[in-house]
Amino acid sequence: MGLRVENLRVYYRTLSGYVRALEGATFAVSDGEIMGLAGESGCGKTTLGHSLIYLKPPMTYMEGRVLLDGQEVPIWDMKRMSEFRFRRISLIPQYAMNALNPTRKIGRMIADLLAAHGVDFREILPELKRRLDLVQLSHEVLNMYPIELSGGMRQRVVMVISTLLNPALLIADEITSALDVSTQRAVCEMIVEFRNRGFVRSTIFITHDMSILYQIADTIMVMYAGQLVEKAPTEVILRSPHHPYTRMLIASLPRVGVRHRQERLQGIPGAPPRLLDPLPGCRFRDRCPVAFARCAEVPPFVEIEPGHFVACWQEI
């Protein structure tokens, strides 16, 4: 069944008003799907990812529904979300290398966390060890403090912890950004391996590095200024992107497989919009080469072919 998100709107409440970071997102991620979530910095990727597990002030739920395997996920309710977190929806955060308590042995910390969810550490220990083997960590790390491990090792520990209870949905936020190329590849392979072995069912893999998505994502969803722009199987996004923004994004990329980061986005003329009082209608309008009158209305996110969604008036 996987994940269904319907018309999800999440803002940040600030002193100068609402920052409209996620505007009416409707999409689905099916079982076994690794969905890459791409878009330039500040377009709302983290907002979308976090709102599914950890919607905390100043992040404010405005409207919309989230369904996981057909069951409503009460993302607006911090308390009720507790039973979803970790067990059914889990997160590998952007700051994974610093995500462990520096003064607690890793094994003890895992035991504390599991106990809080009513899981017996000793029962799960054999599986935990198998997974440590899988990510090539010695069982000794359970007896160590995080400071005794390298940054890459800490991140692998966090990846194992986050997926330990086989969540239905895993959100991985920029987990490759701080790594060198060879470590990036290893981390990506782990994400795929976790899915193949059924540790996680659906994965939302957030990054602004498109080349990584080509390696691991089944589908790619692109965001622009808080709005969903296009979602399609990776091949389709790569070969025949439909949305003008996606097209510019793909065109501005160097050869596939070459590492490239934000500077590529500067190839697109114009500045990304402020989300405090965004343009009404299509937010890409002021940078869009093919904009026309209709674009002052919000374009719907429609399925133009099976599995290919685009939000652009030119496509309707």
Binding site: H50, I53, Y54, K56, M81, S82, E83, F84, R85, F86, R87, S90, L91, P93, Y95, N98, A99, L100, N101, P102, T103, R104, K105, D112, L113, A116, H117, Y145, I147, E148, V158, I161, S162
Partner: protein, 328 residues
């Protein structure tokens, strides 16, 4: 950890050496001569005074070359001999200090430990409870900004002088001889209450603020956010944050120790409490340089020892130092 403590120990030994040297120099650099003062106080005939003077100078070894005096000072020190008091001649300085130490400890240990524990608890609570934060925090800022002597004077005046609830001088009533009985213990506590309270309150404020700010910082830390995102209960997150916030508070205790001891000395003077602080006052008033020297030496040693103890405790509770991962 061994290396960490070894380095600390070396630093403390060096500090001790310099502090003792300066301590030895002070009376010798000060104007006036303790022996002259002592002899003058006796108001003797001039020729008798002269005989006595030369006797005392020999007795205090002031006729030797300076380097020999200095060497003898260390030798005597290693035997626990701090010289003879001129004020309470011929009592040894060390004996006078020994009589004062129990009163210092009686004030210092409970004040430090209780304020540290209570301040940490209160600070941690303030970080969680809004109304407590709004009341306790401003109060703590006022308390910690108050000089020790100032609060001591205020309490002595308000609760002692005006309200007459507590005595304002001495460690026990003049008409009671120290002995082991409920009567004496009650009297002792009654005299102890005000100086203890004034120390406790000032320190409490500092610990409460420190803990409150540290715990808020820890609750914002990445590991707290990760735990929260994985649905860990607030209880667990706060437990971690409290334990981690405690570590800087231990270092804070080491850093504050000097100020705390100085505050205690001032408080003892205000309440005429017969600890080392009160002795120092007497030594100054009576120009008893050897007693003064002894008191300082005792304080230096005490503070250094206490600091070293705290360092050991810190190394034991913080895995980062224990594993030698960080320098400090």
């Amino acid at each position: 950890m061994g290396r960490y403590l070894g380095r600390k120990l070396a630093i403390y030994l060096l500090t001790f050496f310099f502090a003792v040297t300066i301590d030895w120099l002070i009376p010798r650099l000060m104007p006036g001569n303790p022996v002259d003062t002592m002899v003058a106080r006796m108001a003797l005939r001039a020729d008798v005074a002269e005989v006595l003077r030369s006797y005392y100078i020999r007795a205090f070894q002031l006729d030797l070359p300076l380097w020999q005096q200095y060497l003898n000072f260390w030798i005597a020190l290693s035997r626990g001999d701090l010289g003879i008091s001129t004020w309470l001649f011929p009592q040894p300085v060390i004996a006078i200090i020994y009589r004062a130490v129990p009163y210092d400890l009686l004030l210092l240990l409970p004040a430090i430990l209780l304020s540290w524990i209570a301040g940490n608890q209160a600070g941690a609570m303030a970080a969680r409870v809004r109304w407590l934060d709004n009341t306790l925090l401003p109060l703590s800022y006022i308390l910690t900004a108050t000089p020790y002597m100032w609060l001591a004077l205020l309490l002595a005046w308000a609760l002692g002088h005006v309200a007459g609830l507590f005595p304002i001088a001495g460690a026990y009533s003049f008409n009671i001889r120290p002995h082991l009985s409920w009567l004496f213990i009650r009297d002792l506590l009654w005299h102890w209450f005000l100086p203890f309270t004034s120390l406790f309150l000032v320190m409490f404020g500092g610990w409460a603020i420190g803990m409150r700010n540290m715990i808020i910082y820890e609750l914002e830390a990445d590991y707290s956010r990760y735990l929260e995102a994985l649905g860990a209960p607030q209880r667990l997150i706060r437990k971690y944050a409290f334990r981690n916030a405690m570590l800087p508070q231990i270092t804070g205790l080491a850093l504050q120790l000097g100020a705390i001891v100085a505050g205690t000395l001032a408080t003892e003077i205000v309440f005429a409490y017969p600890g080392t602080g009160y002795l120092i006052l007497q030594a100054v008033q009576n120009q008893d340089y050897f007693l003064l020297q002894g008191c300082f030496l005792f304080i230096i040693t005490g503070v250094l020892l206490a600091n070293f103890t705290i360092d050991i405790i810190y190394a034991l509770v913080d895995p980062r130092t224990r594993l030698g991962m960080t320098g400090e």
